[in-house]
């Protein structure tokens, strides 16, 4: 049995391509082939296989973690929190003073161990969240961050040119609006409470939640009234 890494990777690749012909392609050497998984795919498979064999990692736990973030935790959770704050002033007050507890009230317990702070937009203040050093993000209510949030472009420019970044997202602010950037340098996680758009008085809490986007809760955009698309 070939016990080299290359051997493992070739076998893993063939298995994943699901077809013996691709295994032969591997033997032929280095030319790229569409059906051959990329290097990370093989390395991850190797790492997972080793860690499971050694009893360090449990496949069911991996499945759960992936499923949790792919399908369960996400911006819909944050949107429900925002909508509740819009319709319930007492809730909003609790949210702004003790965010983890207020978020847990809605059943989002993933955030209970997180230190979260909700920062409120107003006609005169616009908040923007960034992590210049890595990728800190309020995952407990927004899920995992999008690629742009983790990009060098966003991380570098959000603090020095927030208005320029906002314009790229289609967000034009008047000069007299104060932009407050929150650089998540410690273990505090920030969420923006966007302004409730005009003309939404008749909407239910659930309908309001539908309007709230991930980008608005990071602060790169605003919540648009019903029917307006960014």
């Amino acid at each position: 049995m070939d016990t080299t890494r290359r051997g493992f990777l070739a076998v893993a690749g063939a298995t994943m391509a699901g077809d013996g012909a691709h295994a032969q392609d591997h033997d032929h050497g280095d030319h790229a082939h569409q059906a051959v998984p990329s290097d990370p795919t093989l390395r991850v498979k190797a790492l997972e296989s080793l860690l499971v064999e050694k009893g360090l990692v449990d496949r069911a736990a991996l499945d759960l973690l992936v499923d949790r973030f792919e399908h369960k935790v996400g911006p819909r959770d944050g949107a429900r929190v925002v909508a509740r704050a819009w319709v319930d002033p007492a809730y909003k007050k609790r949210l702004l003073t003790d965010a983890p507890a207020a978020i847990a009230e809605l059943g989002y317990t993933a955030g209970q161990g997180e230190h979260m702070l909700v920062v409120e937009n107003s006609p005169k203040v616009h908040n923007l969240i960034v992590c210049t050093l890595c990728s800190c993000y309020p995952w407990a209510v927004l899920g995992l961050p999008p690629v742009w949030y983790k990009s060098t472009a966003y991380r570098s420019r959000a603090v020095i040119d927030p208005r320029g970044v906002l314009r790229e997202f289609g967000t034009q602010l008047d000069e007299d609006v104060e932009v407050r950037v929150w650089d998540s340098t410690a273990e505090l996680r920030y969420i923006v409470l966007p302004e409730r758009p005009a003309g939404t008085d008749n909407l239910s809490e659930a309908e309001l939640a539908e309007l709230v986007t991930r980008d608005a809760m990071v602060g790169v955009s605003q919540v648009l009234p019903l029917g307006e698309k960014a």
């Binding site: 990370p40 997180e114 000069e175």
Partner: protein, 219 residues
């Protein structure tokens, strides 16, 4: 460490690329890396600060050349070796060495679900006294440690105002190197955009950073 991860204030990184209807993971392997990474961290051989520092230690060209989860993968491969969970040969062959001791039971799905809700240790320990108070003027220290730090270069030497006391947290500069938790207060410090970036910045705008006691001095 004055590394390339400390990006705040660079201007040559191009426009922000926004992907419409972006998937959580762009390939199945990214999800697996995420799960592996979280599971490994639950084992407790390294802490979040040490993990972050390992990413910062990637050679600059690799750091910029890799995608986000490629960095995670490389760092997890490095950390399992560094902390004795696997040997380089095991990584190479993807098979346990003969006689390799199996770990204590791996993190199960049930425990993983439970631990996800557990955050970063912090406390409101009244014995740890704050060195500063809300409203005070402070200056971020001009320091250039060669290890891990969460004090970005763009704020060093700048003056700001403490707006909130967040309570007591572990000090990343020591915790990342397993040199103790050195619990201390963390504050939200408001810096005006003009203090950070000069007179061309908006007179209204500001940047808030979270800072530990040891990052600050009286201004």
């Amino acid at each position: 460490m004055n590394g390339v991860h400390d990006l705040g204030g660079l201007q040559d990184m191009g426009p922000v690329q926004h992907e419409k209807d972006e998937p959580v993971f762009h390939a199945a392997w990214e999800g697996r890396v995420y799960g592996i990474d979280r599971s490994l961290r639950f084992i407790g051989k390294w802490n979040l600060d040490a993990w972050r520092h390992q990413i910062e230690l990637l050679p600059p060209a690799d750091y910029f050349g890799m995608t986000y989860y490629e960095r995670w993968l490389r760092v997890d491969e490095q950390l399992v070796v560094k902390h004795g969970l696997a040997t380089p040969k095991e990584l190479e062959t993807a098979m346990p060495d003969p006689g390799s001791v199996k770990a204590t039971p791996a993190l199960t799905a049930a425990v993983a679900a439970q631990r996800l809700g557990r955050g970063i240790p912090s406390s409101h320990d009244p014995k740890v006294l704050p060195q500063f108070r809300v409203g005070q003027r402070v200056r971020a220290r001009n320091m250039n440690p060669t290890g891990h730090t969460r004090l970005p270069r763009y704020a060093r030497g700048k003056k700001g105002t403490i707006t909130l006391d967040h309570g007591v947290y572990l000090f990343p500069d020591t915790n990342a190197h397993f040199q103790g938790e050195k619990r201390q207060h963390v504050y939200s410090v408001r810096f005006t955009a003009r203090e950070l970036w000069g007179m061309n910045a908006s007179v209204r705008d500001s940047v808030h950073l979270d800072m530990w006691d040891d990052y600050l001095e009286h201004a």
